[in-house]
């Protein structure tokens, strides 16, 4: 049924739309590039521009009606909804939180409680304090005894070992990079020590308005995007090559190995790629509210939907 529609649609002029990334292009975004390269978007009658990086970020643009789709993350969507910005998460790009606190192996920081009396290099967001507090308390340590130092946008490799004992990284990028550089690390993965910290990052978002007025467009976009990520899961090597083709500035080895690792992570234990559970949204928002990181509790069912994932 779907395919027939596509064939007819292909003769019509393509509908232009765009998706904005949350950061510079990296392996998290592979599915989008595959959908573009392999013509999945075109089959759906779409012409999609992939925009990189945005300050203020895609959420506001989407809410302002300037953009259809964007890559975001659960914390941002939660914050946005609490500020009455009507954005909706329509897919989880990666099923589990792949971030963690990294330190040099030789420092032997293996559990949250080991972080006591150590120096954390962060960017000064209240979220970091809340997360570290939560982990250490659960592990029976005194979170007051962490020394916070601001390193801002400086990356892990340029600061680690210089007054800084640990920083917060995404394994799929910095972790792989450390592996390539033969820098042995200990990584305390968030999800291993607190399930409420196993939230969705990144996610794909759109606006309530678009869902209401052009549900078909959202449907088609997700159809193609899903196919893209499913391809990446099946063929990590080819996926890496496609990404490199579209962003040749990237470090090739890093992309290939990161892609290989992420192939296992995209869908993981979920019924299909992109699937989001109510519980994940609920417990994270609740936790944020408890930590005073949210001005008010959000309406969970409005924050996300699985309705636009294709039937598998």
């Amino acid at each position: 049924n779907n395919k027939q529609e596509n064939k007819e649609g292909a003769k019509e002029p393509l509908i232009k739309t765009a998706v904005m990334l949350d950061w510079t292009v990296n392996t998290n975004h592979t599915g989008l590039y595959i959908a573009k390269e392999k013509g999945y978007f075109e089959q759906q009658g779409l012409e999609v521009e992939i925009l990189e990086m945005g300050d203020p970020g895609p959420a506001q643009l989407i809410a302002a009606g300037q953009l259809d789709f964007g890559i975001s993350y659960q914390e941002q969507v939660t914050n946005a909804r609490a500020a009455d910005i009507p954005v909706v998460s329509i897919a989880a790009v990666i099923q589990h939180n792949t971030s963690g606190f990294a330190s040099l192996k030789e420092d032997e920081l293996e559990r949250p409680k080991d972080l006591q009396d150590k120096s954390y290099g962060g960017w000064g967001s209240p979220m970091e304090h809340a997360v570290i507090n939560a982990l250490m308390k659960k592990d029976g340590a005194d979170p007051e005894k962490v020394n916070y130092i601001d390193i801002g946008a400086a990356d892990f490799f340029s600061v680690i070992g210089k007054q800084i004992d640990f920083t917060w990284i995404f394994y799929g990028w910095d972790g792989i990079r450390a592996k390539q550089e033969n820098i042995p690390l200990n990584i305390i993965m968030l999800r291993d020590f607190a399930d409420f910290l196993d939230y969705y990052t990144p996610t794909i978002i759109t606006s309530e308005k678009l869902i209401e007025e052009q549900p078909e467009l959202v449907k088609k976009f997700m159809e193609a995007t899903s196919k893209g990520y499913e391809f990446a899961i099946e063929h990590p090597k080819e996926a890496a090559e496609i990404l490199i083709k579209h962003a040749p500035e990237l470090n090739k080895d890093l992309v290939i190995e990161s892609q290989d690792w992420l192939a296992q992570q995209y869908q993981a234990d979920a019924p299909q790629w992109g699937w989001q559970e109510k519980e994940v949204w609920e417990r994270y928002a609740r936790w944020m509210k408890d930590q005073d990181l949210l001005p008010k509790m959000i309406e969970i069912p409005k924050a996300y939907t699985n309705d636009f994932l294709p039937l598998r």
Binding site: M20, V25, E49, E52, Q66, D155, N251
Partner: protein, 254 residues
Amino acid sequence: MRKFMPSLIFFSFLLLLWEYIVKAFQIDKFILPPPSAIFEALINSSLLLLEHSKYTALEAFIGFSLAVFAGMVLAMIISLITAVKKTLYPLVIVSQTVPIMAVAPLLIIWFGYGLLPKVMVVALVCFFPITVSLVEGLEKVDADVIRLLQAMGANKFQVFIKVQLPAALPSLFSGLKISATYSIMAAVIAEWLGASRGLGIYLTRSMHSFQTEQVFAVIIVISGLSLAFVALVEGAGRMLMPWYYKKHSVADQK
């Protein structure tokens, strides 16, 4: 050309020193790449850089042109109509302190992610030097020349066309040169607000995938483009104001 030899020699020496230091102290490539690696990156990605440069240069050029147009119109209105000068000019001066970089993100909320907001960032950056330098140029015309034309029976408009405007050209061009210097960088920054191509994208991609030598390569390209743009403006100035560059050549010592 010969005039720049000492600088070139000194610069080459600096490059050699840099290369030596990086090698001698075994500095990590992603912290400080040696000039040779930067040069290599420049060669290897020359096609890619060219491709990205096209977009950035286009944004810069359109934004610059827009600023030239808007700045000149505003400057003329300010200097022709006293009431406008009194109300608007102080605001123009004060608005120079408005941080355009902080306003830029709002521009994309308002105007979307296409060419428009990038062009507007460039135009905003270029607008003030052009407006202010033209207004100043138009103001500092010798009052006696204006009186002379008035005595000849010229009206305000004729005085403007025949005296003020040509007299303000050198000042205008110094403003244009400042704007041209910053236009490329403004376009790069605008690309950071959201784009799919351009040197700004190349820069962040390189930075975030730990390829510092590519960062340096793109910095060189940005500098080069800026210099080329300034040279173009300078060239236009020489075309439009031959008298300004031709001083003291005939009859210099009679």
